[in-house]
């Protein structure tokens, strides 16, 4: 009986060590992804930005997750920020914007290089999930992974309604810009 126990213990230990070593070698995280939004119409340009996006890249499974507490988006004008949170994005009800997807190609994040890749997954915003393929540019320099991306979000896709009164001031499609530096999990 004792030798069985020893083997089991050994296996468990080995498995755990292998797993953690594996995960640590392959995962990259960021706590300060810069995420900006930009609405442009002939009447008004509206911009907002947050530096508090968080993200994870797991190289082995090619998983990419990026998340933003929408309340952290800062506007030039505080009243506009309040209206954004209260009337449009409803951040009390839907506090997070999240994208979870899978890279369409395997990228060696341990070697220096530049890659143009697509991430396919689900964009959750304002309580509505939408299947999206989002292009991004990944550059690796000395163990640091930089990710840049730019894409559009149509308000109607996420049930964000714009009243007719302000229709001319807010774009139907909002540009989102993302720029983050991911570091390896140690």
């Amino acid at each position: 009986m004792t030798w069985t126990k020893k083997i089991i213990r050994g296996c468990c230990l080995l498995g755990l060590v292998l797993f953690f070593a594996d995960a640590a070698a392959q995962s990259f995280v960021s706590k300060n992804i810069r995420i900006g939004m930009f609405s442009s119409t002939p009447l008004e340009d509206i911009k907002a930005v947050s530096d508090q996006g968080t993200g994870v890249i797991v190289a082995k499974t090619r998983e990419v997750v990026v998340q933003l507490a929408v309340k952290t988006l800062e506007f030039d004008r505080k009243l506009m920020q309040e209206h954004f949170n209260e009337n449009y994005i409803e951040s009390d009800k839907y506090p997070l914007a999240k994208f979870k997807g899978v890279l369409d190609q395997s990228v060696d994040l341990t070697k220096d290089g530049d890659y143009n890749a697509n991430v396919t997954g689900v964009l959750s915003l304002h309580g509505v999930d939408k299947q999206r393929t989002i292009p991004c540019r990944i550059s690796v320099r000395g163990g640091v992974v930089r990710v840049e991306s730019q894409f559009k979000v149509a308000c109607v896709d996420h049930k964000i309604d714009i009243p007719r009164l302000v229709f001319a001031k807010i774009a139907e499609s909002i540009s989102v810009k993302l720029n983050g530096q991911f570091n390896q999990v140690k």
């Binding site: 968080t54 994870v56 797991v58 009164l165």
Partner: protein
């Protein structure tokens, strides 16, 4: 055989466990990243700086100027109402024009002028404490101080015997809480100091206690109400004049920069220094009236932030 089975089960469990852990990996890393979120201030407890009659705990945003125009019509019913005055619409019991300016996000200065007594009011409002989410500060505390200056001619020789009799002062603490994203409530203890009350038995200084609330019906439409206890606190019950406690209800419509407020209340007057001490109409006796506010916000200065990702532009 038994040992072999046991081993097999253990291995399969281990393998299964590993795959599950592996599959959750991105999510669990995400969870660790977002585990220590700081309590954030709760925004937009009320839409405007006023509820119906009384002040809310909100202040103006920095460098925003609010132009407010308020109108109280005459009695809907009773002796002064009915069809002869088109249910009070012929009468303007009080008119108010005011400007509120946000010096900082927490400090607002304001000036206004009412028809009643040709009263000019000057006020300061400061947000001392802010409600925070996730176990932080549970309430907002705003302090409000207002001076009133009566500019009209005296009605009699003895009125305003001293020039200082024209001044009144109102101090108030506003304690509010956004209970849910829909419901906000506040309690407002206040103290009014004045000279020459029109009823000689009425004390110069009055302690008052107000209650106010907002219930959001849709994203842009709210039901608002407030009530101020004046009688039954420091005011004697046996005055010659009948005074009533001000009660107002209404709807508030916000359209991005404009706020329209449509109300019914028994108070004839608009500014605290008038309506707290001199509300002589009652909801029971047809003394209720219609009133409205139009409020428009202007951003006076462009923000100086140099961040190109934040700069908004109006063409």
């Amino acid at each position: 055989m038994n040992k072999f089975k046991f081993l097999l089960i253990t291995f399969s469990l281990l393998a299964l466990g590993l795959t599950v852990v592996n599959a959750q990996d991105a999510d669990s890393l995400m969870k660790t990243l977002n585990s220590n979120v700081m309590p954030a201030p709760v925004e937009a407890v009320f839409k405007a700086t006023r509820v119906v009659l009384s002040h809310s705990s909100e202040t103006q945003k920095k460098h925003d100027l609010d132009l407010r125009i308020r109108h109280h019509f005459g009695d809907i019913g009773g002796k002064f109402g009915s069809a002869h005055t088109l249910y009070g619409l012929d009468v303007a019991s009080d008119l108010f024009i005011g400007l509120d300016y946000g010096v900082t996000d927490d400090f607002t200065v304001a000036v206004g002028r009412s028809k009643q007594d040709e009263l000019y009011n000057f006020s300061g409002k400061y947000k001392l404490l802010r409600q925070k989410s996730k176990g932080g500060m549970p309430v907002n505390l705003t302090v409000f101080a207002q001076m009133g200056w009566i500019a009209r001619e005296p009605f009699s020789e003895s009125e305003f015997a001293q020039y200082s009799d024209r001044f009144s002062y109102f101090l108030q603490g506003i304690i509010s809480r956004k209970i849910s994203s829909r419901l906000s409530l506040e309690v407002t203890p206040g103290y009014l100091l004045r000279q020459n009350p029109s009823d000689p038995e009425d004390p110069n200084n009055l302690f008052v206690l107000g209650f106010a609330g907002r219930m959001k019906l849709t994203r842009r439409l709210s039901f608002i109400a407030d009530y101020t206890l004046v009688n039954g606190l420091s005011r004697p019950a046996d005055l010659v004049t009948d005074y009533y406690n001000p009660l107002g209800v209404g709807l508030e419509i916000e359209t991005g920069g404009h706020i329209f407020s449509l109300n019914f209340m028994n108070s004839e007057y608009i500014v605290e220094n008038n309506f707290i001490s001199n509300t002589k109409k009652s909801w029971n006796k047809g003394g209720v009236r219609f009133g409205f506010t139009i409020s428009r916000n202007f951003t006076l200065f462009k923000s100086k932030n140099k961040d190109p990702d934040k700069q908004s532009k109006i063409y």
